[in-house]
Symmetry: C2
Subunit: 150 residues, 2 copies
């Protein structure tokens, strides 16, 4: 599934096949960003999150590149962009693992939990039909807090 190699700087490079399938050259910045998204603890990071972590790791990269790469990932269906009201207007990105899901977002910690519910999905379709509405996409976000949080 992954092509793993080690460059002279001891940076682990995992070039996902999806990168090539998307017609994107396997460049260091793209690989670094993909790695960050793959290893993100709650699976959702803003461009700045990724940029700061990479800089912190000692990597050399520019914020503009992070934005450009994320936009390319989105266009290639490798990543999904969300606009959670709780993040200061910043978009957050997650890897697209295929299955649709909705989100629960903690207003306290920013923690994100994904969920999927057939009953809700079906009701959405029924309601749309009642209004002669064809759904292209939809966004359901629950904002609040988890009881185990600080």
């Amino acid at each position: 599934m992954y092509i793993v190699s080690l460059n002279t700087d001891n940076i682990v490079i995992m070039s996902n096949i999806e990168l090539k399938n998307a017609g994107l050259k396997v460049t260091l910045p793209r690989v670094k960003i993909l790695n960050k998204l793959e290893s993100a603890e709650n699976h959702h990071m803003s461009a700045e999150d990724i940029y700061k972590e990479l800089i912190n790791d000692g990597e050399v990269i520019s914020l503009a590149t992070v934005y450009r790469v994320l936009t390319q990932f989105e266009a290639a269906n490798i990543a999904i962009r969300h606009h959670f009201d709780s993040d200061n207007g910043q978009a957050v990105f997650e890897l697209n693992h295929g299955g649709h899901h909705d989100h629960m977002v903690s207003l306290k910690t920013g923690k994100v939990v994904e969920f999927y519910d057939d009953i809700i999905e079906n009701r959405q379709k029924e309601i749309a039909k009642e209004h002669n509405f064809k759904i292209t996409e939809h966004s359901l976000i629950l904002y609040g807090e988890f009881s185990e949080e600080d």
Copy 2:
């Protein structure tokens, strides 16, 4: 319900009691903006929508004031701010008539239809409970198009 008067410029001034209840002085700009929101055909307008219509009506107002007033309305629960992905990043505002509802947004025309569904609301609560999550608010938006549209 409304206090209606007529100023020398023949502008109908409806100062909603909510304005006073919110501790907001009943000023001309606030009344004009409230009127626009009340008369909006699809109940959802961006700050710029409101500004342009007022200028078109021959009113004198600044965009900064529209933004400030809308933010005050939001804080006073007179209006609700939404971020529909379809609007070019612009926030849209609607009057808060009390009852919660979700939205169907046309990607073609920007038309907005409101709906409310008990089944969905209940499932959201159940799912939240399963995750020990306390919902503060939530946002459900269906994007697509209405069949009767151009």
